[in-house]
Amino acid sequence: MKQGLLAALFIARKDLRTEFRTREALNASVSFALVVLMLFSFAFDLGRDEFYDISGGLLWLVYVFAGALIVNRSFIREVPNDCLDVLIASPMPPWALFLGKTIAGFVLLLVVELVSLPVYGLFNNIQWVGVFWKLLGVMILATWGIAVTGVAFSAVTVNVRLRELMLPVLHYPLLVPLLIGAMQISTTLLKGDATDIFQELRIVIVFDLIFTSLALCLIEFILVG
């Protein structure tokens, strides 16, 4: 168990180091987030209060579209030079490989989110600094959900033809409960409402727990068959 966790951290460090050296996915993802933010400004012509009503929804749409670019690459980047076969054949348990890749995807996603949050606030005149720490809590919980399901699907579709087309079709519908929860909490926080957000928080946490355990249990079938 301890060895597995160490291996997971090792994989996460490897993935993060590879990404920070080239910054391919990171740059693309941040740029994509900016493009989506710009497109939103054409799509909606709303007053300040009205914009606050949809603020959480827009924020998470940006995050989930930009985030997909990162997590969906998790396993496919190991295909050239048969790196994936080597990783599977290594003594490390499959769940450790999966956990390591999820941790790396989670950190990268969080970086994209933290970079695009100030831009989002700036473009749309949204005050987020006062609720930053609470927002960060929601971001951590929901981003884990996006990372864990995204990396799992990245593993599932590694040998699928047209995987770039298939992934959004499979991944986005699955994220609906998580996004509903995260969007509603974020809107409540940004608007400064005193509404109780416990129920929404519960859904996000339950989603994380269910899919983390399900993915860890099934990853051996996904990778080894």
């Binding site: 599932v156 579709t157 699928v160 129920q199 989603f207 996904i222």
Partner: protein
């Protein structure tokens, strides 16, 4: 033997549907508040129940495949998903027509509509992905995992849409509130049984197609090997 079972189930189901529709349209008065359109309940709700039954069978088949690696279970899963999708579509379309007449709108994002639509979309992804995986074992494993992921997601969707600040338009089902007139129960139950019978016949037909398809594939591989 299997042919006979398919014919018997199919014919029995069809006869039940025809007899039931005859009774519903000619032998029953309209619903007290909604009139004739209220009779949509005899198609709309049984289609949903039959759909969820076959989704359930698909999940059992998927778990069976992961445990045993027997392709029979994979065939059962994919056949059941296809049939369940048809029933889910019937449910969505009839619900939309019903909603258009009673609510004045074709669609609204409320609890039941959204969860049914999500379910449909998740398993649509399942069906879309299958032809994109060339290797049979891999295809079956991926499909099984997707089916299990989708099944785990549905209760969460329902939980999420039940949140306090989400609009609701769809009434609580009369089956839960006990508001269905006693004379409406027999045709309602017959409709469910009829859909189950027709669905099972269709699953059996698709199962045979899957088995034959697999045999053709293995023969083709043998031929290439020679």
């Amino acid at each position: 033997m299997r042919d006979k079972v398919i014919y018997i189930l199919g014919i029995l189901g069809t006869l039940l549907v025809i007899g039931n529709l005859h009774h519903i349209f000619l032998g029953m008065p309209g619903e007290a508040m909604q009139g004739q359109i209220g009779k949509m309940i005899f198609v709309h709700v049984p289609a949903a129940i039959a759909g969820f039954t076959f989704y359930g069978v698909a999940v059992i088949g998927s778990i069976g495949f992961l445990i045993t690696k027997d392709f029979k279970y994979d065939s059962l899963a994919v056949s059941s998903v296809e049939v369940a999708q048809v029933f889910a579509l019937i449910n969505l379309v009839t619900g939309s027509i019903w909603g258009h007449i009673i609510w004045g709108i074709w669609w609204t994002w409320d609890l039941r509509l959204t969860s049914q639509f999500m379910c449909f979309m998740l398993y649509l992804g399942y069906l879309l992905m299958r032809p994109a995986v060339a290797e049979a074992t891999q295809r079956a494993t991926m499909s099984a995992i997707l089916a299990i992921f989708a099944a785990a997601d549905i209760p969460l969707v329902i939980m999420a849409i039940r949140l306090h600040n989400v609009r609701t338009q769809h009434p609580a089902p009369v089956l839960e509130t006990g508001g269905l007139d006693p004379t409406w129960w027999p045709p309602f139950l017959i409709a469910i049984v009829a859909f189950w019978l027709i669905g099972t016949a269709l699953v059996l037909v698709r199962l045979r197609q899957e088995t034959v398809g697999r045999e053709i594939d293995s023969l083709r591989r043998e031929l290439h090997a020679v």
